[in-house]
């Protein structure tokens, strides 16, 4: 999300806490003073309530069906159950400690982690505001992100992780991986301060989930019968419903990340649509060229790849940047799922890494390329600011390393 916009939000959240005397905090303070005191906007609130519903729709039933349709018939319930259970678990974890760690005030450690002051949502009242919307809505909106990220990981080890093990892993992962990284980028931490652009979670959500998935599927090993038995998707109609709901719900994800019903939200929605459609068609046509025929699985995979790649970029690029990102995402995700995976030989059952990891990285980098100052306040490479690409790369690297290492330890 737009950093300049995000900072006062972070402040409002932590308004009752003592401000840590770090340089970062001082910069934030200055920004907050410059801003007029926010009042509740019914319009912004209406859109954010809606966005929250849309993002929840992405996980249940969206992702549950997208993944459920791709596994073998006997595993469909188990797979869909994972998304549903994670939705419930993440809600509790977020309420108890996750939100506090991600958006609370971490004092001297604020560059790296929030604090425990907001545990059990302490300090939340009916009128507490977060910028122009109630803080309760901000908490809910962010919660839906904390739900879908771990749910995405399940695609990597579908068909083989024990349910009880998954429950434990996911709870720890949200606390130890998701919450810190969300804090770094959006909660006032060092990545945000460093100027990393991540409008709606290319880094926090998708690279993060992709890497965790990659680590998980390597550690856990291949499915029994991998390579010999037929593991074809049992019901692509379910996957198509899932992909469609992901697409529609993603409007809440990306346009909702403007945290307001304004021109930024509108532009985010428009570029989301353009990049998604472009990536879907790109995958389809590449497949049509390489293999003889276009497939349903291909076009929906491409669409999801495009959605992923435009996520960090949504508030920063224009329609032409979206077209370019769409083409790049379509090709890169096709390559990730169809070439890279068999080449390296890991069994990422539903391509959590091939689509979310690869797509997220492509998107994060290209955000640095195609960012337009008039749209999101930051110029990218095409406007003569090559440094932004480097900053984006740093953001990716930090996430990959941290998430990879901690996920590995957890498994």
């Amino acid at each position: 999300m737009n950093l300049l916009k995000r900072i006062p939000t972070g402040l409002a959240v932590t308004a009752i806490a003592v401000l840590a005397a770090t340089g970062a905090a001082l910069a934030q303070e200055a920004a907050a003073v410059a801003e007029e005191t926010p009042a509740l906007s019914a319009g912004d609130t209406a859109w954010m309530l809606t966005s929250t519903a849309l993002v929840l729709l992405m996980t249940i039933p969206g992702l549950a069906l997208f993944y459920g349709g791709m596994v073998r018939k006997k595993n469909v319930l188990a797979t869909a159950m994972q998304s549903f259970a994670i939705c419930c678990l993440a809600t509790l974890v977020w309420t108890i400690v996750g939100y506090s760690l991600a958006f609370g005030d971490g004092g001297n450690l604020n560059a790296y982690i929030g604090g425990f002051d907001r545990m059990f949502l302490a300090g939340l009242g009916a009128d507490t505001l977060s910028k122009t919307i109630p803080e309760s809505v901000f908490i809910m909106f962010q919660l839906t992100f904390a739900i879908i990220t771990p749910a995405l990981i399940t695609g990597a080890f579908a068909d083989r992780m024990k349910f009880s093990a998954m429950v434990v892993f996911m709870v720890l992962w949200i606390v130890l991986v998701y919450a810190p990284i969300a804090h770094w980028v959006w909660g006032g931490g060092f990545l945000g301060d460093a100027g990393v652009l991540d409008f709606a979670g290319g880094t926090v959500v998708h690279i993060n989930a992709g890497i965790a998935g990659l680590v998980a599927c390597i550690v856990i090993g291949k499915r029994r019968g991998f390579g010999s038995e037929n593991m074809e998707p049992h019901n692509l109609v379910l996957s198509l419903i899932g992909a469609s709901l992901l697409w529609v719900g993603w409007f809440g994800f990306n346009a909702g990340s403007a945290l307001a019903a304004d021109g930024a939200a509108g532009m985010a929605m428009l570029v989301t649509q353009i990049a998604t459609a472009t990536a879907a068609l790109t995958w389809m046509f590449v497949e049509w060229l390489v293999r003889k025929k276009p497939t349903v699985l291909g076009i929906i995979s491409g669409a999801v790849g495009g959605l992923v790649a435009i996520t960090p970029a949504a508030g920063f690029v224009g329609p032409m940047g979206a077209l370019a990102i769409g083409v790049a995402a379509g090709i890169a995700c096709f390559w990730g799922a169809v070439w890279l995976k068999p080449a390296l030989g890991y069994d990422d059952s539903l391509d959590a890494f091939g689509v979310h990891g690869v797509g997220g990285m492509v998107g994060a980098l290209l955000t640095g390329v195609f960012a337009i100052e008039a749209i999101g306040g930051t110029p990218g490479l095409i406007e003569g600011n090559p440094m932004q690409v480097w900053i984006q790369l740093k953001g990716i690297l930090v996430t990959v390393v941290y998430c990879g290492v901690v996920s590995f330890i957890l498994l």
Partner: protein, 112 residues
């Protein structure tokens, strides 16, 4: 009495049914089966992975007829189900010791 069990390509079912009906056969029983044979399944590709479908969808028609009709019925199935391509299927003929119509208790040829 014989049981004629024919394994054919699914889209030929209607032709075979009509051929048999026009011979005066009054009943038959149909099962969806999967066949493995010389005909190889298509290679399906899902993202990176290739799967050769080993078992192809087929339809099994079972019809019990009196001995004198066996020849004609086999002939009719042969003609109706034939496409001259690999995978057209087989006809197997088995001896039936007894047939009973449940509704009436009639046996053998009057049970059909």
């Amino acid at each position: 009495m014989k049981l004629i069990s024919a394994i054919i390509k699914p889209f030929k079912l209607d032709d075979v049914r009509q051929a048999l009906t026009s011979l005066g056969v009054q009943g038959m029983t149909v099962t969806e089966v999967k066949g493995f044979g010389r005909q190889k399944g298509q290679t399906e590709i899902y993202r990176g992975a290739e799967y050769t479908v080993q078992f192809l969808p087929k339809v099994k028609i079972e019809v019990v007829v009196t001995d004198d009709m066996v020849e004609g019925v086999s002939e009719a199935i042969l003609n109706a189900a034939r496409t001259d391509k690999i995978g057209d299927g087989k006809i197997f003929i088995l001896e039936v010791a007894k047939a009973i119509r449940i509704r009436t208790g009639d046996t053998d040829s009057s049970a059909l």
